[in-house]
Subunit: 335 residues, 2 copies
């Protein structure tokens, strides 16, 4: 391994000078800088991140906390898009990313411990149980943190406009003439609350009274639980003519139930999803849904996080808007 000493020997200057030349200190003469840089690339020199970190306390590494028991991590299409965008923006900013977990090797270690162990300069937290004590420990620690789709006081966060999304979908269904609109939502997280609020707002504006049994809880990304919720809705004395589902993927559970009952989408029942992942575009019929801007969510998270790592940035909540995606899963309803 070629080190700074090799360069210093080759150039006849001290290691200190090499370091400074490489890091652009003004006190080194242009000729020396030139010489050092040339030999560095001649010798194929790469700084040792560990040594640098040890001295500077900056790892150029950001942690990503992405775990959630309801979904199998990276295989969740929406989050894999967020993650991909996080990765790309991080790389563009000169950072690598490390997944934060709480069991590394045989050792149990808390999220915070893992961050410290790897000296993460900051952490992006997404889609976890934000009440989890380990998450709270991390959030309250000294390590810079940004949260996705959840906001803590005095901390920056990136949130997808969930209220708007549910509002737009609800409004659309109402516009199409539906009056019996059900909402199968996910676990009662902040995201869910926002969506319920958006849904209610739309219903209010259209003067639609929604009976409580039309608003029913299932689990995100869990086709089975959504299927059961759908069954419950269809078993009602007055079943809905339209259903909003928690997300595009779990909608499949609902679809299965609907089809098995001999009903068809959208003739007998109109549906819409949430997320706007690729899947929603290729389903048959194509799903009417709300596309969350995963790319921008990931990118903004890192941008904001790096800002708060490198400079001083004020806590801020950044709202990322989405986009209505129409499909063929909703039909006009006339009565």
């Amino acid at each position: 391994m070629v080190t700074i000493k090799d360069i210093s020997r080759e150039c006849g200057v001290s290691p200190a000078t090499v370091s400074k030349a490489l890091n652009g200190y003004a006190e080194i003469s242009p000729e020396t800088v030139e010489l050092v840089k040339r030999t560095a690339s001649k010798l194929n020199y790469m700084p040792n991140a560990a040594a640098r970190l040890l001295k500077t306390n900056r790892s150029h590494n950001i942690g990503v906390l992405f775990v959630d028991d309801t979904m199998s991590g990276l295989t969740h299409e929406f989050f894999s898009h967020v993650l991909n965008s996080v990765k790309e923006e991080a790389e563009a900013d000169g950072y690598d990313i490390t997944f934060i977990s709480n069991n590394i090797g045989r050792q149990k270690m808390s999220f915070l411990q893992h961050c410290r162990y790897r000296n993460c300069d900051g952490v992006v937290i997404a889609s976890v149980d934000f009440q989890n004590p380990e998450v709270l420990e991390l959030v309250r620690s000294e390590v810079p943190v940004i949260t996705i789709d959840y906001s803590f006081d005095n901390l920056s966060s990136i949130v997808s406009d969930n209220q708007e999304g549910a509002y737009r979908l609800g409004s659309y269904l109402a516009e199409q003439g539906h009056r019996k609109i059900a909402f199968v939502h996910g676990e009662r997280t902040l995201v869910t609350q926002k969506r319920i609020r958006g849904f209610n707002k739309a219903m209010n504006e259209y003067g639609i009274e929604i009976p409580p049994e039309y608003i029913i809880e299932a689990r995100y990304h869990d086709a089975d639980s959504v299927r059961k919720a759908t069954a419950a809705l269809l078993d009602l004395e007055e079943p809905p003519t339209a259903i909003m589902f928690p997300d595009d993927f779990s909608f499949i559970g609902g679809q299965t139930e609907i089809i098995e009952r001999g009903l068809s989408i959208p003739d007998d029942i109109s549906v819409c999803g949430y997320d706007g992942i690729n899947l929603s575009r290729i389903l048959n019929p194509q799903l009417t849904t709300w596309r969350q801007n995963a790319e921008r969510i990931g990118k903004e998270s890192v941008r904001k996080l790096v800002e708060s790592i490198e400079g001083t940035s004020v806590a801020e909540q950044i709202m990322v808007s989405g986009e209505f995606l129409s499909g063929n899963s909703v039909r006009k309803w006339e009565n």
Copy 2:
């Protein structure tokens, strides 16, 4: 940050003793070990990975090289499963993972340089262009490497049984009575060659003569190119009655073309995919396909890589078998 020195002070022993006690050296008395460990956990001590690395040259970090221009990295469902499994096995073995790229910050750096910069103990290489000079440089370097779905001489690799997969799918179509079977395959990589071989083997066994224009190249994970290939097939004077597609995802392109021509699956034309991702299970009709065992591929890669990092292990090629998944996309063909 609490260091080994804090513990040594608290316990009244030297830092050396603390280090040895923590690392299970035999020369430390049981009482001291006990004392050191207790105070370590009392002070919430975490070793500093960078400092340890600097001295030991072991980062407990494995690199993952996953780039490919035809697919958008992590958002590829099959590879996100492999990756997820790589991550889990790595964590179980006490490793973190780092994505290897060749542009970190404003600096261009080769894959190998990136590995050295982060001191990766080893690298898992998957799904890239294995002729890429930078990949070759990495493969030929001193850093332990394992390749997925490609084998270099004297290096360990994990390969999915592509020949078997294509063979089984081809055989199945033939069994169902099809005689005009087309194969839309991906770019001419080793994987593709294996599949073509498997396909041909099946056709031979059933004594089926396949005209050259039935074997046609498209691109993996590229719905558009597959759509074009499908169009070409359907435009033939004697179009096939069954088509094997490069993968489940890009099949969508073929499906679109088929449907737009007013044909239906499987009544007019039978199809099968490859990969067996979730998507294939929820498509309508459900896709007949070959499930690659992404979980085992990821897990075995890390296991083998760690083996060659930690001990001495012989180069070995591990074949991971898949599983035939039947759907409703193929119908019996009687003539």
